[in-house]
Amino acid sequence: MAGKVITITSGKGGVGKSTTTANLALGLALAGKRVVAVDLDIGLRNLDMILGLENRIVYDVVNIVEKACKLNQALIKDKRTDNLYLIAAAQTRDKSAVNAQQIIDLTNELKQSFDFIILDSPAGIESGFKNAMLPADEVIIVTTPEISAVRDADRVIGILESNEKNEMSLIINRINPVLVKKGDMMSKDDVLQVLSIPLLGIVPEDSNIVSYTNIGEPSILHKDSKSGKAYKNIVQRLLGHDVPLMDIMEEKKGILKSIIDFFKE
């Protein structure tokens, strides 16, 4: 088995990298793929909480690279599916505890037994980001439709291009159709015009995300969640199913009519 390394990054913090990582990892696992999610935000770990696995952490990614434990010991199995594993970030250390070569070696080892290795990058463009970006076969950039987030994403895309990471795609998170319609928020097209990389999906603003994080259940598990629906579509596209852009709009029909109406313009 030769797995694929996908890095989720954004530049700016708080745009939903970890939420996206959790949802895509869980979605791919529920679709039958063997998935491992690796939290590289060392010192500020969140992914374990969002996945509801924080009480199961014994060993973390720093323990692995320092050879304090075996790889298998640090793989935390998800409580909902046997296909998903988590490697947690160390909380008592910082980004300097690992280097890029160690992460590349780790992902190469994980590629033997997983279909997808999903790396949750820290915010910023410093060493933590570089560690997460260098092993990637594919990079997903998450942004929100705000100028500050888009500019940071633009900076990150520039750095990725200069590192020849050209397999990039974009998720626009937290689109609020009401605000877009009023002209107070950038639209999908405004964002794409600036960033000009392929669009992987759009995720609507979902006020339930906060409570989903509190209970450790990503929105993709909730059938009535509008963001969960959007993540399911993105998972299908990651699996190579040719979900045309029209389908986004059709699938949202009935659930997010206002969005559709807007995007049909």
Partner: protein
């Protein structure tokens, strides 16, 4: 007026030249003291040369020392003729400068693709960008800048002092425009505006001001 001033000039990307014209040491010091404070930040961490003429080169060491006291370190002194000049600072004769300038022919550089936030291009001559210049990207050219796309970053045309340089873009919407030693800011209300149907525009210098006008109108004037 001409012939008795102290001037600071940008020299392409080579740094700056302080050109001393007066022949009276007190006058020179007075003028230096008045021009340096405004440009001191530019003169740090770059190459600064001091240009002297035959009437004032005897003050070379005094001027170098005086500039040092004002935080400016001179890397070399430029003179017509090094005869009678006694100094520890390297001396360049103008004949050599001209030789360098002749070799340093301006060219047209083309960049394909988008320039993204944090990226920077410097060109000696004209610069053509086939793509967009995104916000927080910087483009410098000693000649003209042509952006065949949207320009949201910061352009500096005529870098080094060429006020005849122009900036062209299909969608000209930068937060600042710099031409030669002039700088202008976008009006506050236009900063974040996304113009829906932009027209090609040209920025140029007229009577010491940077003017922006639609390309077709600019064509008529020329």
């Amino acid at each position: 007026m001409g012939g008795s001033r102290v001037l600071i000039r940008g020299k392409n990307f080579l740094g700056f030249e302080i050109d001393i014209e007066p022949d009276n040491l007190d006058e020179i010091k007075k003028q230096i003291a008045s021009v340096i404070p405004a440009s001191a930040h530019l003169l740090k961490n770059t190459v600064v040369t001091l240009k002297l003429n035959d009437s004032n080169k005897r003050f070379a060491n005094d001027i170098v020392q005086f500039l040092k006291e004002h935080g400016v370190t001179i890397n070399a002194i430029v003179v017509n003729n090094r005869k009678d000049l006694k100094t520890d600072v390297p001396v360049i004769e103008t004949a050599h400068i001209n030789l360098l300038a002749d070799k340093n022919e301006k060219e047209v550089a083309t960049y394909r693709g988008n320039l993204r936030s944090g990226q920077l291009i410097r060109v000696n001559g004209d610069l053509v960008i086939v793509g967009n210049v995104n916000a927080n990207a910087y483009v410098y050219a000693t000649g003209n800048i042509f952006v065949l796309g949207a320009l949201h970053g910061i352009p500096h045309a005529g870098y080094g002092g060429d006020l005849s340089a122009i900036i062209f873009a299909f969608n000209l919407n930068p937060p600042q425009i710099r031409i030669g030693d002039l700088i202008t800011r976008a009006p506050e209300d236009q900063l974040k505006g996304v113009s829906k149907s932009p027209v090609a525009e040209v920025a140029y210098v007229q009577d010491g001001n940077i003017i922006i006008s639609p390309y077709d109108e600019w064509l008529k004037q020329n």
